[in-house]
C-alpha cells in the first residue's frame, strides 16, 4: 500500500529534489554564461571564471538547502524505523541522492576541475528520487539478514563508489563531447567553460582509478558479509556476477589506458558501457523479483 502522503520524509525528499533541480538549472545557466569567458578558463584552469560568479553561490546554496531537507528526511525515517536507509528502492533512492549531492559539493569544493560535475549529478539525484517513488515508501523494519554493521558498511562503501562511478561517467561523457567537437571543428558554447580535452583525460583517469578502488571495496565488503551470512564468499548471485562484470570492465579500461594508450572517446565508450552495468547492479535488478538475494522490495 502506498502511503506517500502520510510520511514527512517523502515530502522532504521531494522538496529536496526541487532544490537539486534548481541547482542544476543555475549551473546550466552559469555554464552557458561562462562559455564566453572560456579563454580565461584555458589560462587559469577550469572553474576559474565561475568561481567568482554569483550564480555559483546560488547553485551551492540551493544544493545545500536541498541537502538539509533530504538529511532531515533521512534522519526522521531513521528514527522512525530504527535503521539507516538501506532497505528497499525508496530508501536506496534517498541514500543515493544524498551521496550524489554530497559528492558534488565536496568534489567541487576541494577540486576546482570537478565543478562541472553538478551538471550531471544534480539531475542524477533528481531522477533517482523520481525513480524511488515508483516503489513502496512505507517504513519497514529490517529483516534478520540485514541486521549487521557489516551490511551498513557494505552499503556505505557501495554508495561512495557509486558517486565516484557517476563522476567517472560525467568525465567520460564530457570526453566524448570533446572528441565530437574536435571532429566537427567547433565547440558548443555550453561546453566552453568546462574542462578541456587534456583536463578531461585527467579526470577520466582519476575517476576510473578511484572507481576501481571503490568497486573493489564493494565486492570485498559484500564477499565478507556473504561469508558471515552463508559461509561462502562467492555465490554466483545475479548482482555479484554483474558486479564482477563491471569490475572487469573497469579493470579493462585501466589496462587499455595504461598499456594501449587509449584516450578520449574510445576509452570513454568502454567506461560508459561499464556504467550501464553499474545502473543494472544498483537499480534495475530491483525490478526482477527474486532474481537475486539483493532484492529488497517487500510487499508490506
Amino acid at each position: 500500500m502506498r502511503t506517500v502522503g502520510s510520511l514527512p520524509e517523502v515530502w522532504l525528499t521531494l522538496a529536496a529534489a526541487a532544490a537539486f533541480g534548481l541547482a542544476f538549472a543555475v549551473d546550466l545557466l552559469d555554464a552557458w554564461r561562462s562559455g564566453a569567458a572560456a579563454a580565461m578558463e584555458a589560462a587559469e584552469g577550469p572553474g576559474a571564471t565561475r568561481a567568482a560568479g554569483w550564480l555559483r553561490g546560488m547553485s551551492v546554496a540551493s544544493a545545500m538547502t536541498g541537502l538539509a531537507l533530504l538529511t532531515t528526511g533521512i534522519v526522521l525515517r531513521w528514527i522512525g524505523i530504527g535503521h539507516p536507509p538501506i532497505f528497499g528502492s525508496w530508501e536506496n533512492a534517498m541514500a543515493a541522492s544524498w551521496f550524489l549531492v554530497v559528492g558534488v559539493l565536496v568534489a567541487s569544493a576541494v577540486w576546482r576541475e570537478w565543478r562541472f560535475v553538478g551538471l550531471g549529478l544534480y539531475p542524477g539525484a533528481v531522477l533517482t528520487i523520481v525513480w524511488g517513488l515508483r516503489f513502496n515508501t512505507n517504513r519497514i523494519d529490517l529483516t534478520i539478514s540485514e541486521r549487521s554493521l557489516w551490511v551498513d558498511l557494505h552499503v556505505l562503501v557501495a554508495w561512495s563508489a557509486y558517486v565516484v562511478l557517476a563522476m567517472m561517467l560525467c568525465a567520460a561523457l564530457l570526453s566524448i563531447a570533446r572528441s565530437s567537437e574536435k571532429k566537427r571543428g567547433r565547440s558548443l558554447r555550453l561546453l566552453r567553460a568546462l574542462p578541456d580535452a587534456g583536463w578531461t583525460d585527467d579526470l577520466v583517469a582519476a575517476s576510473t582509478g578511484w572507481s576501481f578502488v571503490g568497486f573493489t571495496g564493494v565486492i570485498v565488503s559484500g564477499a565478507w558479509y556473504s561469508y558471515l551470512l552463508f559461509g561462502e564468499t562467492w555465490r554466483w548471485d545475479t548482482v555479484e556476477v554483474l558486479a564482477l562484470v563491471v569490475w572487469l570492465v573497469l579493470g579493462l579500461a585501466l589496462h587499455l589506458r595504461l598499456f594501449y594508450g587509449w584516450r578520449g572517446a574510445r576509452l570513454a565508450a568502454v567506461l560508459s558501457f561499464g556504467y550501464v552495468g553499474v545502473l543494472a547492479v544498483y537499480w534495475v535488478l530491483a525490478l526482477v523479483p527474486y532474481a537475486s538475494y539483493h532484492f529488497f522490495e517487500l510487499p508490506f
Binding site: 556476477v241 562484470v245 527474486y290
Partner: protein
C-alpha cells in the same frame, strides 16, 4: 580480459535476468573454456608481475625522474629575492632544497601497490583451487536443550548419510554444541523476521555464544550459524497398557497451519499436527495473530493409516499445551512447546585465502591510487629584483591535477604570478 568480460556479458547476463539459479551460472563460469581463460589470465598476470618487477623497484627509488631539460615547466614570477623565494617554496611544498632548486618526492611506494594487487589475484586463485576440493555444508536441527557432536555423522540432517560417510573426520568440526535457547520475533503481523538468536553452549567447558544468521562462530575451522527455526511440541502419549511415548516433534513453521505427519511409536497410528503460534479459537476456526510463540494452539489429528480416506479419524481437536485428550484408551497431550534451531555448519577451506586476497587487493589499490608517486622540482633563478621559479612536475596518473596544485602552492608561497603555464607533458605512465 576483454574475452572474459564479453563472455560473461553475453552468456551469463541474459540467463540471469530470466531467473537462472546460481548453480547454473556457476556451471557456466566453471566450464572448461572459462577455466582455461582464467588459468591463462593467471599465468599472464604472474608473467607480467615478474616482468615489471625491476621497473616497479626503479620507480620506488629516491632519485627524481623529472628531466628539467626535457620539460618546459610552468613559470611563476615573484617580487621576492631568490633565496627567500626558495625558502618559502621549500616550506610550502615540504621539500628539500639546494642552492638553486627545491625538490619533493611523494608516494615513493605507490608503484608497489600494483604488484600487491596482482599478487592478491594469485592468492585468489589459491582460494578457488582449495574450494574446488570441496566445501562441506551441513545442517543440524536441535531442539532447545539438545546437543550435537560435530563428528557424529548421525547428528546431521544434511547432507545425506552416504555423503557424510564418505567424508574424513577432519572435514567435520571437532566440538560439541548444546542449544540453550532460541529467541525469535516477527515485525508486526507479517512474515518478516526481525530477530532470530540461538544461545548455545560450546565444548566441554560450555562456553556461551549467541548465534544469529549473520554472526556465526568459527569452531575448528567451521563456520556455524543459525539460519532457521521452528516449533517442537512435546508429544506425550499414554497407551491403554500404560506405556508412554514422549518426544519432541519438529514441525515446519511455514506456511502457518501446514500439517506435518509422524508415526506414533509402538502404536498403529499416525499423528498429523499443525501449530498456530499466537492463536485464539473462534468458533470452529482459529485466528492466528502473529508468528511469535505467545499463545500456541496445536491442531492434532490421529489417523489409522489403514483407514479409508473418508473415514473419521481416531481423534481430531485443538489443544493448548498441557491440555489432555483421550481416544480409544490413549491419553494425548503436549506438555510443552519448545523452539528448535537449524544450524548451518560450513567448512570453507578457501575462505581465509579469499579474504587475505581481498584485503591485499584493496590495500594494494589504495596504495597505488592513494599514494601515487608525485614529484615536484622547482628551479629558482633571479629575475630582475625578484625571482623566477620554474615548476616541473611528474606524477603516476592524472598529472595535470598534480601540476595545477603544485603551481598554485608555489604561487601562493612566493606571492607570485603565473606567467607561463605548462599544458602538456609531465605525466608518467601510471
Amino acid at each position: 580480459m576483454l574475452a572474459l568480460a564479453g563472455g560473461y556479458a553475453m552468456w551469463v547476463l541474459p540467463f540471469q535476468f530470466y531467473g537462472t539459479p546460481a548453480w547454473r551460472t556457476r556451471n557456466i563460469a566453471t566450464a572448461w573454456a572459462f577455466m582455461a581463460l582464467g588459468v591463462a589470465m593467471l599465468v599472464n598476470t604472474a608473467a607480467c608481475m615478474v616482468d615489471r618487477w625491476p621497473v616497479v623497484l626503479r620507480r620506488t627509488g629516491v632519485s627524481m625522474r623529472i628531466k628539467p631539460r626535457t620539460t618546459e615547466g610552468s613559470v611563476v614570477r615573484s617580487p621576492l629575492p631568490p633565496d627567500e623565494a626558495r625558502d618559502l617554496c621549500a616550506g610550502a611544498l615540504g621539500g628539500t632544497q639546494d642552492s638553486t632548486s627545491v625538490a619533493r618526492v611523494r608516494g615513493r611506494f605507490g608503484p608497489l601497490g600494483t604488484e600487491v594487487f596482482h599478487l592478491a589475484l594469485t592468492l585468489l586463485a589459491v582460494a578457488l583451487a582449495l574450494n574446488a576440493g570441496g566445501i562441506f555444508r551441513g545442517k543440524v536441527v536441535l531442539v532447545e536443550g539438545e546437543s550435537f557432536s560435530g563428528r557424529d555423522r548421525a547428528s546431521y540432517a544434511e547432507p545425506v548419510p552416504a555423503e557424510l560417510a564418505s567424508l574424513p573426520d577432519s572435514a567435520l568440526p571437532d566440538t560439541t554444541i548444546r542449544l540453550v535457547k532460541v529467541t525469535t520475533s516477527f515485525w508486526k503481523d507479517v512474515q518478516l523476521f526481525n530477530r532470530l538468536e540461538a544461545r548455545v553452549a560450546v565444548g566441554a567447558e560450555e562456553r556461551r555464544e549467541v548465534l544469529t544468521i549473520s554472526s556465526p562462530m568459527v569452531v575448528d575451522g567451521a563456520s556455524i550459524a543459525v539460519d532457521g527455526f521452528g516449533y517442537a511440541p512435546q508429544l506425550h502419549l499414554v497407551g491403554p497398557d500404560g506405556r508412554t511415548a514422549d518426544q519432541f516433534l519438529k514441525l515446519k513453521v511455514f506456511p502457518p497451519g501446514s500439517f506435518d505427519e509422524f508415526d506414533i511409536p509402538d502404536t498403529p497410528y499416525r499423528l498429523r499436527l499443525a501449530v498456530y503460534p499466537d492463536a485464539s479459537k473462534e468458533g470452529t476456526g482459529v485466528a492466528n495473530a502473529s508468528y511469535n510463540l505467545v499463545r500456541p494452539l496445536i491442531l492434532a489429528r490421529v489417523e489409522d493409516p489403514l483407514q479409508s480416506a473418508g473415514d473419521e479419524p481416531a481423534f481430531q481437536g485443538m489443544l493448548r499445551p498441557g491440555e489432555k485428550a483421550e481416544f480409544l484408551g490413549y491419553t494425548l497431550s503436549f506438555p510443552s512447546i519448545r523452539y528448535y534451531a537449524e544450524l548451518r555448519v560450513i567448512r570453507n577451506p578457501g575462505a581465509a585465502w579469499f579474504m587475505a586476497a581481498a584485503l591485499l587487493a584493496t590495500g594494494g589499490l589504495i596504495l597505488r591510487y592513494g599514494a601515487r608517486r608525485r614529484e615536484v622540482l622547482v628551479i629558482v633563478t633571479a629575475h630582475g629584483s625578484g625571482s623566477e621559479l620554474r615548476v616541473h612536475t611528474a606524477a603516476e596518473g592524472w598529472g595535470r591535477s598534480h601540476r595545477a596544485r603544485a603551481v598554485e602552492r608555489v604561487r601562493r608561497a612566493v606571492d607570485g604570478q603565473v606567467v607561463s603555464a605548462e599544458r602538456e607533458g609531465g605525466e608518467d605512465r601510471g
